[in-house]
Symmetry: C2
Subunit: 429 residues, 2 copies
């Protein structure tokens, strides 16, 4: 036993869930740099949204503990080693992905205040301030809520019961990995930071994926794990960019243009495998139909809502219609994946297009069925930009279950983007 | 990381499998004391017998490694703390179970030489010398062979593959324990030292049993684990006593008397829950039919071969015929148990008699089906007294598959003990 380590650990007042500002998704940092350059003064509000309203978060999580964890995150600053890694590491084949002016700002950053209030059996948790600062709350806030809810269950368990719980969860992850080994041309990354069971568990999953899948494991979205385990940091961009750009639009014409403005800014900053279109914010079909020609040269499309087969077929048909060879393009699936769906999608699209997978919650938090009342099963918790410069944001996506925003604004967006009837699909995580 | 511990561990030339003279079964020490008192000068030969001849031990285990492990065992002496524990601990409710003269002898003991030779794809491993010394080789020799055979498989596995192997094995043990929790009046002990997967694994199983079963877990046969984990050390006596006593008999009349002589010596030394009859060495039915009246007052009977239901019914009928109330008696099942059989036997006999279980190999080494070719599955390896003062020993038991000795001697014993046709039952472990 290492006595000093044990004594040191017992000196912590809390067991912090998030211990680093780069314990977050890589794409958050890419987007943050883009926002820092293009829209630094935008004032935004991010808000927690529990889409699984049957999970009474405020009954399960002690408010004081939640505040302690969030306060701890506010105390975090970029460490020297983290800064050196971000400045010097190669990301997507490129050195100095993060520019010196952004890094100087990031090195001085502390996360802004949060607003927390109990409302019935749920928490209202919001973050307000300048976009590049506030946006960095999303991932750690979600990770804290997910893990605190889990800890309440784990605290009641015995030592061996816990060991067996993790033994079962490990076995399950490994059995999934063993099935994925049957796909020799697979390319898959960990996208599971936000709704993970815990940091240590995500770290274990990444290492198991690396040992089990070898080069077919392409990396992790988690920067801290990527740095420590020396694997690729993976990620491109997310819905918050078109959502905020759209909210800032002064007219319907500007609104219709907003999603392309996002990618135009991105186009100038990035290249190659970072040129990935996320087309579903206001409906994939309309987005692609009206896309400018320069977008057809982009490397790929990420499918993050709706029926993934339909989404991928739409993308392939669009490339073909625009004279592009889909076999030179990439499709990244990232919505609610588990091993059956991964295998099915890979078998269906491998060879027709380059296929990648961003595997999230059901990689890093599949504790379904392992404790009574399924009290460790993951659920659909998100933290989204809900307003920008005082105006509400809207998301439609290719699944009305994932839509958000005031009803009258949703109707306006549907009209502007020409979105008709959509297939309604259950959202598990 | 504790640097000093890591450096210290790397200084070991080998990773010793047996690190203590009390990493052995408690009943070995009880029997050793009895032999030390009653038959100290008997010269015996113990020999390894691999009943699973399809397992080519000499191909699987490197001879040099085996010698290193056996040599290490010969370097072991009783530590001061181990001696203090044996002298001062309460065993079966009694202090000073081990007499000062025995302890002085034991404290000075080093195990005698071994003889090892490769014969085809098997090893011939024998131990010769005075009975109280040689008999202590049995358990560590078996544990070394079992674990070396396992290590050859484990050495080829990756880090996470190993972790998942143990995760699966832990889950399996825990699921067995969860099923045993359904029996509120269960009494069960670990008897799994000799054919365990490894010491650390047995130690884990004992702790899991303690957490999972609480007071229904009655202890372990392993003295080192009993000492370290502060649980009861469990065990009474084994076949080697009647086998050697029988081999020493000068006539058929003395032979017929030998099994009772063993228990007569035992009767003088012990009482209560140590008064357990092991009746099957030369056939249970004959043993009980011809038993002297004082044996009916003994506490219980251990069933270690043959159909356990039949064995228990025979015991109950015997007690009834001798005017004893079976509900005041104890039956200990210890032959090839796994959870289904334990539940079945408990349900059948609980209430009619006090029931206990000594759960061995399928508690501490159930790695069946967890690696390719089932290369970690336990098998039937024993180490037995094969000669005493130059005469061969014989064991019949209630299952001809477990019989041993020269054929003509087996026939003589069958005649002397009146053993007729026996039911042949497969021996797994």
């Amino acid at each position: 036993m290492d006595i000093a380590t044990r004594v040191y650990n017992h000196k912590w007042k809390i067991d912090p869930i998030v211990r680093s500002l780069i314990d977050t998704d890589f794409y958050k940092l890419l987007m943050c740099q883009s926002v820092f350059r293009n829209k630094p003064d935008t004032q935004v509000t991010f808000s927690l949204i529990n889409r699984s309203t049957h999970i009474p978060l405020a009954d399960l999580i002690d408010e004081a503990e939640l505040r302690e964890q969030l306060d701890h995150i506010r105390s975090l600053g970029l460490s020297r080693g983290e800064s050196t890694w971000l400045r010097g590491n190669t990301f997507y084949g490129k050195r100095q992905m993060f520019r010196p002016d952004f890094m100087e700002w990031f090195e001085a950053l502390r996360l802004p205040p949060y607003h927390l209030e109990r409302r019935g059996d749920q928490y209202e948790l919001t973050f307000e301030g300048s976009w590049p600062e506030v946006m960095l709350w999303e991932i750690p806030a979600l990770a804290v809520l997910m893990e605190l809810r889990g800890r309440a269950v784990l605290n009641r368990m015995g030592r061996f019961e816990l060991q067996v719980l993790y033994a079962r969860a490990m076995t399950r992850v490994w059995e999934k990995i063993e099935r994925l080994r049957e796909l020799p041309t697979l390319g898959i990354a960990d996208f599971g930071t936000r709704r993970r069971h815990s940091f240590m568990w995500q770290d274990w999953c990444v290492q198991a994926m690396r040992e089990g899948l070898g080069k077919n494991f392409t990396g992790t979205s988690n920067c801290l794990i990527a740095m420590r385990r020396e694997v690729e940091a993976i990620g491109t961009n997310a819905h918050e960019l078109p959502m905020v750009y759209a909210a800032l639009a002064e007219s319907d014409a500007e609104l219709a243009q907003a999603p392309y403005d996002v990618l135009s800014d991105w186009h100038d900053e990035h290249e190659g495998n970072l040129h990935i279109i996320l087309p579903d914010t206001y409906g994939t079909q309309g987005f692609l139909d009206n896309a400018p020609d320069w977008l057809t040269s982009w490397t790929g499309i990420r499918i993050d809502s709706g029926d993934p087969v339909k989404g991928a077929e739409t993308a392939i048909a669009w490339w073909r219609a625009r004279g592009e060879d889909p076999r030179s393009k990439r499709i990244i699936f990232s919505d609610g994946l588990d091993v059956d769906k991964i295998i099915e999608l890979h078998r269906r699209f491998d060879g027709r297009v380059n296929v990648s997978f961003g595997w999230g919650t059901l990689l890093t938090n599949d504790f379904r069925g392992l404790v009574p009342n399924d009290a460790l099963a993951p659920f659909s918790l998100v933290c989204k930009a809900v307003a920008a410069n005082g105006r509400p944001t809207v998301k439609l996506s290719d699944n009305p279950e994932k839509a958000m925003g005031p009803p009258e604004e949703i109707e306006r967006y549907k009209r502007v983007f020409g979105v008709g009837e959509q297939e309604r699909l259950a959202v598990v995580v």
